[in-house]
């Protein structure tokens, strides 16, 4: 397959420890309880406040480290897209904004795609990097999601998408809007291949991202307290002219309204994800196929000889999967 060679060029970067340098003695103020937290404590605690359990935004690469087994994964190179197709300029040129974001993050755009193992199963993760223009979705992000979906299909692996996005990349205008159907096609390709599509909603997931691939998961997980919604708070306040309810558009609020499957705190995420992937990808834990013969029946069911089975009876030829036996697969 030609398109595969175009983008699946595994680049094993030295990702562990390759983060932008932040001095260890830097302090962060927790937005939840306003207490000060040491930068080092924050990273070791997966960016969860040790005082109040508030989930601060977690850098995407650290998140990949956390979710993939042994923090081992390969990033794939994503297709190059036309920069600034509409020659957009507001108070600044879009090309300049892109340049700044690239310089600040060391990334080409707001999407990162990687594959590795989660709980022993192959898995593909596409994550949005909020630090890159607020994780906004333009053509590059759309292509990233499409590439991730195709990689998942080729690898027969689940696709996990981790949005963190303010929504549309306004500087790509209509092309940004077109990423909604484009990423939806990507999701359909994964689903139609019989593979699970899991969305892990993180802070924030709004606008055109929430109104497309981020809400189409077979399973929708969210981190505690994260903001998830379609319209922005300010727009809603101006429209309805009333005070918004407590906890409006938080993960818990969406859970209460039946919009997501679960709210999972960060330390539990990997196990939850691994467990679900295992349930879906390995429906029969001892899934080796055994021919149903006298020997196999005897071996697995321990049918005693004196039960009167005719030793000359032909073995039943139909293979069955060993779903009845109490034995667990060796693998």
């Amino acid at each position: 397959m030609n398109w595969l060679t175009n983008f699946v060029r595994p680049k094993i970067k030295a990702l562990v420890g390759g983060k932008p340098d932040v001095p260890d003695n830097m302090w962060h103020k927790c937005p939840g309880c306003t207490q000060m937290i040491f930068h080092r404590d924050l990273t070791t605690n997966r960016h969860v406040c040790p005082h109040c359990d508030h989930h601060l935004r977690m850098p995407l690469l650290e998140r990949m480290d956390m979710l993939f087994d042994n923090s081992a994964y390969n990033r794939i190179e994503l297709p190059k897209v036309v920069s600034d197709p509409l020659k957009f300029r507001d108070r600044k040129r879009y090309t300049d904004r892109l340049k700044e974001a690239r310089h600040a993050t060391g990334e080409d755009d707001a999407v990162i795609v990687a594959h590795g193992k989660i709980g022993g199963s192959n898995a593909v993760i596409a994550g949005l990097n909020f630090d890159f223009m607020a994780g906004s979705m333009g053509t590059a992000v759309g292509e990233g999601i499409i590439a991730a979906a195709r990689l998942a299909v080729v690898q027969k692996a689940p696709l996990i998408v981790i949005p963190a996005s303010g929504g549309a990349r306004m500087q790509e205008s209509i092309l940004s809007l077109m990423q909604m159907p484009r990423t939806t096609v990507a999701v359909q390709e994964v689903k139609e291949a019989g593979l699970p599509y899991i969305v892990l909603l993180t802070d924030p997931t709004t606008g055109g991202v929430s109104a497309s691939f981020a809400m189409l998961g077979d399973i929708q997980i969210a981190e505690p307290g994260c903001l998830i919604g379609f319209a922005g708070r300010r727009v809603i306040e101006q429209t309805v002219r009333e005070v918004l309810p407590d906890g409006f558009q938080t993960a818990e609020y969406l859970y209460d309204h039946g919009m997501i499957d679960m709210v999972v705190s960060r330390p539990e995420l990997k196990d939850t994800l691994s467990g679900m992937i295992d349930l879906i990808m390995n429906p029969k834990p001892s899934g080796e196929v055994l021919p149903l013969t006298r020997e196999s029946i005897e071996e697995h069911l321990e049918i005693p000889e004196e039960d009167g089975v005719d030793p000359d009876e032909k073995p039943i030829e139909q293979p069955i999967t060993d779903a009845v036996g109490p034995r667990k697969a060796a693998d």
Binding site: S176, M178, T206, S210, A211, S212, M215, G229, I236, V240
Partner: protein
């Protein structure tokens, strides 16, 4: 009484003068007919000049013109035996999106679209064309119905955007839009979409992911309203005019970037000057687009639709 837009003022003045002269002509003056003829030629010339080079911001105003034909007008003009179908089966009937079955050029079809309303009462009823999740869920239901009975779907898009309200968020506005777009890409029957006024963001794409996407000549289609874009990127809604230009929201821009498949001509002076002609023009375009995909195999048609969207932006040089 005609509603004039600010930039139409010179035309309004001329037409006012013509009206006055007509009044006088009734009193039997002979020379006046000549004068009226001259003024009419002048007014028409001015109208043509104005409308052939509308700025993006002027198009925004034309697209939102209160007298512009809306969904119900198109249905009235183009669809026989229209049978409205209502409700999302979960929560409510949302009149911001209307839909039903009917016959278009003799063939049964499903028609779905945003309705903005034409006076205060109907605008409130239709929530100015801004749908809540139920509207999109009704659209999904109707697309499923069309797919089940092999009926082509026509969607007419005219919305400033999906409704930003507390209840709408509570009931999953984002999810409803995502599912509606997904359904557009899932059905195997033909799906022809037309932006007839405003194509506002996710609320529009949820109905506009078609085999063919048409736009009326002066319609607009954008990821955000120029006012919204200005207030975010320029930090002030006063820069809406600049935002309208930067956003490339006109049919002409979008055809150039291969976002849409065709532009449907409007009568001189815009659809609001001659709604019947605009509706007629749209009918012909819809028929032509339907014909292109009617005889395809359903699976191939769906694959082509998906490919069409995947190709957007890839060869945009």
């Amino acid at each position: 009484m005609r509603n004039f837009l600010d930039f139409e003022q010179p035309i309004a003045d001329l037409e006012g003068k013509i009206e006055e002269l007509r009044h006088l002509a009734d009193d039997g003056e002979v020379n006046i007919a000549d004068e009226i003829g001259k003024l009419q030629t002048k007014a028409e010339k001015l109208l043509r000049q104005t409308y052939t080079k509308l700025t993006p911001w002027q198009k925004v105003k034309v697209a939102r013109h209160p007298d512009r034909p809306h969904f119900v007008d198109y249905v009235h003009g183009l669809i026989e035996d229209f049978t409205p179908l209502a409700g999302d089966r979960g929560f409510a009937e949302d009149c911001a999106i209307l839909g039903g079955m009917g016959r278009f050029r003799g063939h049964s079809c499903v028609v779905i679209g945003h309705e903005k309303g034409h006076d205060t009462q109907s605008r409130l009823k239709h929530n100015f064309g801004s749908a809540r999740p139920e509207g999109y869920r009704k659209a999904i239901r109707l697309m499923e119905l069309a797919d089940r009975f092999n009926l082509p779907v026509i969607t007419l898009v005219d919305t400033a955007g999906a409704y930003p309200g507390v209840g709408a968020e509570e009931r999953g506005q984002a999810e409803a839009i995502a599912r509606s777009t997904e359904k557009c890409l899932d059905i195997k029957v033909p799906l022809i979409s037309a932006i007839i006024g405003e194509g506002g963001s996710g609320g529009a794409i949820a109905l506009a992911t078609g085999d063919s996407v048409l736009m009326l000549e002066h319609a607009i289609y954008s990821v955000i309203s120029p006012e919204g874009c200005a207030s975010i990127l320029w930090r002030s809604a006063e820069h809406a005019q600049a935002a309208a230009e930067a956003l490339r929201l006109t049919a002409q821009d979008l055809l150039e970037h291969k976002i849409i498949d065709g532009i449907v001509p409007e009568p001189l002076g815009g659809a609001h000057r001659d709604p019947a002609a605009a509706i007629q023009s749209m009918g012909e375009a819809l028929e032509a687009e339907l014909e292109k995909v009617m005889n395809m195999d359903g699976g191939a048609r769906r694959a082509r639709r998906r490919e069409k969207f995947l190709a957007i932006g890839r060869d945009d040089h």
